[in-house]
């Protein structure tokens, strides 16, 4: 009796603690959103006057549009390339049994656990030694080094739950390699592909350490935010920050809805 009451207290404490951690995680983002709606040039709390003029300015500004397109182009290219390559990478990671697989699984994860700032500088050195001028194109390459392994890992989780029996049955019924890929493998793996794509896009969109050293004269939104935080603060910082937070939240919610819809559709069939 005594110990079960004690157990309840421990449970309650853990629930409260977890709630506190969640608040801790989201508090800074809420602060950014709140700061974006203030009128003053320099942030002060409690906020005396609310305003949306920084949003109007952000939407009108041409340099913001440039930043947006640079970030968007990089993230889109990174998503497309990483999804295609990671699809095969995940099959090698989780589907096939082959000599060298254990080593491959470990080597491919190295870039994820590698300090990104150092990787960015090493890539800068690599590009200048090869005589490549850095621009947003080289940033796509750099992001892929880090994001490709992550997407491979995410897709692998789906591949593990994939039963090769389906493919074999299709082959037995006379399907070609391409038909099996299109009719069996791709549809079954599609949830993994979708979540891999979402991660690829958002991780590239938000990446800072790799972009910092490899975009050359081009600038992404995180780079711009950083440069303004360190020197030359403008109220546009929280505004663009909030827009990014809102955009990411929108993409995540939308993809949840789509994945749920898709699951229901498949369940009905």
């Amino acid at each position: 009796m005594q110990s079960s009451r004690q157990g309840k207290v421990v449970r309650a404490l853990i629930v409260v603690w977890t709630g506190a951690i969640l608040i801790f995680l989201y508090l800074p983002m809420l602060s950014v959103v709140m700061a974006s709606f203030t009128k003053q040039r320099y942030f002060q709390f409690p906020v005396k006057m609310w305003d949306t003029r920084w949003y109007e300015k952000a939407f009108e500004s041409l340099s913001v549009r440039d930043l947006f397109w640079t970030s968007f182009s990089i993230a889109t290219l990174v998503t497309v390339i990483s999804v295609v390559m990671a699809f095969f990478g995940a099959l090698a990671f989780a589907r096939y049994d082959w000599k060298g697989r254990k080593l491959y699984q470990r080597l491919i994860l190295l870039p994820i656990f590698f300090p990104q700032a150092v990787l960015g500088l090493a890539l800068l050195l690599w590009f200048s030694s090869l005589g490549v001028t850095t621009s947003w194109h080289t940033a796509v390459f750099s992001h892929l080094i880090w994001i490709l392994p992550i997407v491979t890992l995410i897709m692998s989780i789906q591949v593990y739950s994939f039963d090769p029996v389906w493919e074999e049955a299709a082959y037995d019924l006379g399907a070609s390699r391409l038909q099996v890929l299109r009719e069996i493998t791709l549809p079954i793996l599609s949830p993994g592909i979708v979540s891999g794509a979402i991660f690829a896009f958002l991780l590239s969109w938000g990446n800072f350490p790799l972009s910092l050293f490899t975009t050359g004269a081009d600038q992404t939104i995180p780079e711009w935010l950083y440069s303004k935080m360190v020197s030359g603060y403008t109220p546009m910082v929280p505004t663009l920050g909030s827009l990014t937070i809102g955009g990411a939240a929108g993409i995540v919610i939308l993809s949840f809805v789509i994945l749920n819809f898709y699951r229901k559709l498949r369940g009905r069939r």
Partner: protein, 286 residues
């Protein structure tokens, strides 16, 4: 020859090729280049020189041990704080929350998709003089806590904040691998709650704690944004030194030496990390 041909024709090897070749060019290549540059004479920009260990000597004799020391110290502090902070949450996710665990997992992972710059800037707003914490204290109690930003504790706070998920998720896996029956057996044999924790749960969830700790340690060791945004000029961490050697000082060989040392420390840790875990089990839950 035949063996090689058969090996190459494995479907696994063929599907591994695109990612493998890409990482060979984009990851292994630059690292080898950094290693080669670390043996070039100071302030040279080509590889054709006579190799020298001058840079290593100058790095060891100069005051770089201070920034290495700060980076190592902050990494250790962050790891310990994160174990204490995340263990109860991980325990709850593995044993208590049930179906809510999925939702909490998603909620904790989501911030990873927002640029760490923006999240750290949120802390700037909270810690700033006349910021959210200082301003509320002044408004409510007339107290002022204005010196919070640009201090070492602020950097630690930023690191704990950014790397929390990297400690939490391995811990959850580690704790969920502790069989409930063992705890019951210990309880039946008269062990107290604390004894069960110390003798059964803690040792058996050690792999998870270890993986999380090593991950966080490597990530904090090479971190840059936390000390720049929340630390201001409070301290110089090793990633700062590497950056300025490559950029402002235009001394590629010196930057390379510092990188090689940092990478070596990280690689040793990663080696131990990978020896401890079976990826098929962790990723595929087989």
């Amino acid at each position: 020859m035949k063996i090689v041909a058969r090996w190459i024709r494995q479907p696994g090897f063929l599907t591994a090729l695109p990612v493998g070749i890409f990482l060979l060019i984009g990851f292994a290549g630059p690292l080898v280049l950094v290693l080669l540059y670390s043996f070039m004479p100071p302030k040279t920009f080509t590889l054709g020189q006579v190799p020298t260990i001058e840079n290593y000597i100058s790095v060891v004799t100069q005051s770089y041990y201070i920034s290495f020391g700060w980076s190592l110290a902050l990494a250790v502090v962050t790891v310990f704080l994160l174990i204490l902070i995340t263990y109860p949450v991980a325990y709850g996710m593995a044993k208590i929350f049930g179906k809510w665990a999925t939702l909490i997992t998603i909620l904790i992972a989501l911030p990873l998709l927002i640029s760490e710059n923006i999240r750290l800037f949120g802390w700037v707003l909270l810690l700033l003089k006349n910021g959210i914490i200082d301003g509320s204290l002044q408004y409510l109690f007339g107290l002022s806590l204005s010196g919070m930003l640009y201090t070492v504790p602020a950097i630690v706070l930023g690191m704990v904040y950014v790397y929390l998920p990297f400690m939490l998720f391995p811990l959850v896996i580690g704790i969920s691998m502790v069989p409930e029956s063992l705890k019951e057996a210990a309880r039946d044999l008269g062990a107290s709650r604390f004894q069960i924790f110390r003798e059964v749960e803690l040792p058996l969830s050690m792999p998870g704690i270890l993986i999380g700790s090593l991950l966080v340690f490597i990530l904090t060791l090479g971190s840059l944004a936390e000390s720049k945004i929340l630390g201001g000029q409070a301290i110089v961490m090793i990633a700062d030194d590497i950056e300025s050697a490559f950029t402002f000082a235009q001394n590629w060989p010196k930057g390379s030496v510092l990188s090689v040392i940092l990478i070596t420390i990280s690689l040793i840790i990663i080696y131990f990390l990978f020896r401890k875990i079976d990826l098929d089990r962790v990723v595929g839950r087989r």
